[in-house]
């Protein structure tokens, strides 16, 4: 079983700051981390490999320092890693990103055919969730998004059973292999990395490919040039006026609030014991 996990290095959006004057991102303000959903994707690959055996490769696209997220993936349990890094990839939107990654996956597959691709549901810096299904379309394999459980992997008969989160519950799907999954965080808990993994990770040097290392690439489909969407403008959302402040000490504030709530009979009513 050859599982490839696509991972992304992202700024930690919990800490990131926006320059209010220029409305741009102050990237120095946030540490770069492995996208949290992708960590769950690697963990799920480890769980599957523990049952089926095989190899886990991780693939990332980004600047040279994105090697860090591949090392992190090795720490979780991946066997090898590939980074595609080139100026030609810069400025890519989701369409151009899925194109570049699919070209790298085709190359990886030549040496060792891929049975399963796993991605995080989305990256926390873009929040789109569009790259995973995009890769699947380009490789012509079924995409299954919002996965909360991989309940069966049948290597011999080449199928998987998947629980997929739905708008009001979940569904169980069967898919032929190879296919592509995008996983939710609830799919697993990230386990503490065993010491040997940490040692491996520290020493690990991933394979780095530039655009010229990939085959049959149409360069017009890469990076900024290959991206149909652009950011028109950035703005702080229209400032809302806000409502009334309820002033005073906590006792008085609570009393005033209760008064207001009791008057809003259209929203709130008291049910007596008998009604």
């Amino acid at each position: 079983m050859h599982i490839v996990v696509c991972v992304k290095q992202v700024p930690d959006t919990k800490i990131i700051k926006i320059n209010p004057k220029t409305n741009t991102l102050d990237r120095r303000s946030a540490p770069a981390i492995l996208n949290p959903y992708d960590a769950h994707a690697v963990q799920e690959a480890v769980k599957i490999r523990n049952k089926t055996g095989g190899t886990i490769s991780v693939l990332s696209m980004g600047p040279p320092q994105a090697v860090a997220v591949i090392k992190k993936s090795v720490e979780i349990g991946a066997d090898r890693g590939y980074l595609i890094s080139d100026r030609a990839f810069a400025g890519a939107d989701t369409l151009a990103t899925s194109y570049a990654l699919s070209k790298a996956l085709e190359k990886i597959s030549k040496d060792n055919p891929i049975d399963l691709v796993i991605c995080g549901k989305h990256a926390i810096d873009g929040d789109t969730g569009q790259v995973g299904p995009g890769i699947a379309r380009r490789l012509d394999i079924p995409p299954i998004t919002n996965v909360i459980e991989v309940s069966e992997v049948n290597k011999k008969e080449k199928y998987v059973h998947i629980k997929r989160k739905q708008i009001d519950g979940y569904e169980v799907l069967e898919s032929q292999l190879p296919c592509l999954l995008t996983v939710e965080k609830e799919i697993n808990d990230i386990e503490y990395a065993p010491l040997p993994n940490m040692i491996n990770a520290a020493r690990y040097e991933p394979v780095i490919w530039s655009v010229n290392d990939l085959e049959d690439v149409d360069k017009t489909q890469l990076g900024l040039k290959g991206s149909p969407t652009i950011v028109g403008k950035m703005f702080s959302p229209p400032k809302l006026e806000g409502g009334k402040r309820i002033e005073g000490n906590p006792d008085s504030q609570v009393e005033q609030l209760m008064g207001i709530l009791m008057e809003r009979k259209d929203l709130l009513k008291l049910k007596t014991a008998n009604s």
Partner: protein, 341 residues
Amino acid sequence: MEENQGVWVFIEVNDGKIEGVSLELLGAGRKLADKLEVPLSGVMLGEGVMPLANEVIYAGADQVYVVDHPVLKDYRTESFMKGVCTLAEKYKPEIFLYGATPNGKDLASAVATDLSTGLTADTTMLDVDIEKRLLEASRPAFGGNIMATILCKKHRPQMATVRPKVMKALEMDEGRKGIIIEEELELREEDMRTKVLKIVKDVTKKASLAEAHVIVAGGKGLGDIQGFQLIHELAEVIGASVGGTRDVVEAGWLKHEQQIGQTGETVTPKIYFAIGISGAIQHVEGMKNSELIIAINKDPNAPIFDVATYGLVGDALDIVPKLIKQFKELSKEKGGEMSYV
């Protein structure tokens, strides 16, 4: 590109009913279509969905394309994508909107790849530049601290997924007339690589947040998981549902499905208590359309006060226990329990 015309909305059907977000998009799409002076069309796929076509018209469409086929009984990316791409290539819309539901996002991502066009995710504001015929799809970016307007200048259709409950549906007008176009599509079950084995509805989940009348939501301002207990207590006393911010969910104080915001649930309750929540756009996008918003926060400059109907500046750990006590006394006095209209 000039030949592309018209605004399309993907109509999502679940359990024989049109999803609310699809009706909202017909409302939003109507405005865009009127500005551009083009027809608004619904695109509906499924098995036995034909009887719903009129509803699409009543909700604002001028026409509706229907593909009714046994292979389309349950949503699958491969079958729906084939149907939608075939129609889009045949009729060439200039704008195509989808609800940002699990299926809507899945479908739109696949369709955008096959049509080699741009797709904006989780849009919360839609407008159109009439002169350039450009869709202006805006969404919170970078974890929701700022808004970005995304444009797709050279590719058609311009596509976007739109968050549920941010656009307004029109009143159903049963007198509205439109055209229903039934499309034949060649689909064979043998060609499918996926199968839906089972669909499990979790009714409680939907009822708990998305349809709750009152929500008590907490943020990191409550200090720790012990402090967060106050949220559960208050909710218990007034019979409300519990929600929280992304930070709180990531800290493990709450389950993922209780996250409210851009990447969680969008909610529109009658009353929303925002307690110890600073009000990052990420969160506000998921609750700003609540009818009455009560915010409690230590920081008088917290952005949550900008969306709140009533704001209480103070320590939640002081105020909330007093609030719980008041509600408890009230229900004892009246000999019953709280409920909501």
